[in-house]
């Protein structure tokens, strides 16, 4: 997770204290988590060494749905254990950073969705 995401998550944590905002932000988080999951799975499949990862990358919504954890779940896919090796590398292998890249590719979409969520929430509350 990038520094920008940490800061954004912190800000969201404050904003989401308002229930009307929380549900919209949660939807933005879940949709982005889904995209990151699919993007990461796609990159793994495109890598010739990890075609058997199948759908190893999954996501879980955490807490009140305002954060999500995306990653390889043990037992999901025949090569789930390879995912970490590919992500951060090993003594014999350079890191591939597929997960980090999948996340970076969706950052702009995520920020845009959160902006939309704020507008929708304000409209619903009659403040816009």
């Amino acid at each position: 997770m990038s520094d920008d995401f940490h800061r954004l998550a912190h800000d969201l944590g404050s904003v989401a204290q308002l229930p009307v905002v929380g549900s919209y932000v949660a939807a933005a988080v879940e949709r982005t988590a889904l995209e990151v999951k699919d993007g990461w799975n796609g990159k793994l499949f495109a890598d010739g060494h990890a075609k058997l990862t199948g759908r190893a990358i999954t996501y879980d919504m955490v807490g009140a749905g305002l954060s999500a954890e995306v990653g390889a779940k043990r037992g999901s896919g025949k090569q789930a254990g390879v995912v970490r090796l590919l992500e951060n590398g090993s003594v014999q292998n350079a890191p591939h950073g597929y997960g980090a890249a999948a996340l970076a590719e969706r950052e702009a979409n995520f920020e845009s969705r959160v902006e939309s969520a704020a507008v929708l929430a304000l409209r619903r509350a009659g403040l816009l």
């Binding site: 990038s2 800061r7 951060n88 003594v91 014999q92 350079a94 970076a104």
Partner: protein, 145 residues
């Protein structure tokens, strides 16, 4: 441009006591053995980096040319304790440190990920390695660069 940042990071790591000759830029060097295998040092640091991706600061109204570079640092040792000690020295050297690179304004490195130390069984003899990931945000002083 990103190689100047890499050079600054490598130079910083080479200042760590006892590691000046043991910090590698993606390709650890070793001594070739008579049987053709390469014997690597019993402890070393191997640095991998990407070339940086455009990442404007949403809080600073998208300053031009700001990029995020990611460094994957592999800290290797003959035992778990060795690898942990190397990793701790790496973290102490990089976390919160800001490189000085001509023509760029560099922010402080942030420690983004720390992977538990693992045993690498395929190496003979087996060695241990830890991975720590750092992000560096950097902005050219001349936005046209």
């Amino acid at each position: 441009m990103t190689r100047a940042h890499d050079a600054a990071v490598l130079s910083r790591l080479r200042e760590i006591r006892g590691l000046s000759e043991l910090v590698f830029d993606g390709e650890p060097k070793g001594t070739k053995q008579p049987d053709g295998t390469v014997l690597r040092p019993s402890r070393y640091v191997n640095v991998h980096s990407n070339r940086g991706i455009g990442r404007p600061d949403r809080l600073a109204q998208a300053t031009g040319g700001r990029k995020r570079k990611t460094y994957w640092i592999h800290s290797v040792g003959a035992s778990k304790q060795h690898a942990d000690a190397v990793a701790e020295a790496v973290i102490a050297a990089l976390e919160g440190w800001s490189p000085a690179v001509d023509g760029f304004s560099c922010e402080r490195l942030s420690h983004e990920t720390s992977q538990p130390t693992q045993k690498e069984e395929t190496s003979k003899p087996a060695i241990f390695f830890a991975v720590d990931v750092f992000d560096l945000y950097t902005t050219p002083l001349d936005p046209t660069l």
